[in-house]
Symmetry: C2
Subunit: 104 residues, 2 copies
């Protein structure tokens, strides 16, 4: 962990990443981000998840803790970005699988 | 599902596969099989899992149900083989990630 609580690329844990991605809602978020433009920042409400706010917040915490996304608080809303480069470096091909499933 | 209960390649579900691989014991088994010769059949006791028989059986059932392995009962023991070709076809690159983590 770095000082700001971000998981360093070398510390990304495959088990935690796979557990995060095993959930269909979390896989939907990551799939959408994979298929977005590189570096895209999206609000947590933009993914169309039919979930309560607290459940949605939990899912984003799991994604953040596993190192899949960075989350930035912007006052009354949060934005997330995919840690595409870090993930590609540590787990090549994994994001493409998630993006491809989402494209159907 | 085919008549013998095997998940067909087209029916392999990414969520079930990722959930199966999120567990470190199950990832150890698959990592070993990935790094074994293609088509290798191994007894379920050969992976050095420090688990009770019932817990071990549970983990192999999860792997079988997710479509990661075929399991063959040979009287008083079971052998497993990796569904390497099916998995490579459906989820290219995933097995390599698991094998690489196991090689360290």
């Amino acid at each position: 962990m770095s000082i700001d609580g971000t998981t360093e690329p070398a510390d990304l844990d495959l088990g935690a990443v796979l557990a995060a991605l095993a959930d269909p809602h979390r896989r939907q978020v990551i799939g959408d981000l994979v298929n977005d433009a590189d570096g895209a920042a999206r609000s947590c409400t933009s993914f169309g998840l039919a979930l309560s706010k607290s459940t949605r917040s939990h899912h984003f915490k799991v994604l953040r803790d596993a190192g899949l996304v960075h989350q930035i608080d912007r006052g009354n809303r949060s934005e997330v970005t995919l840690r595409r480069r870090d993930l590609e470096q540590r787990f090549p091909g994994l994001l493409e699988l998630i993006g491809r499933e989402r494209r159907g």
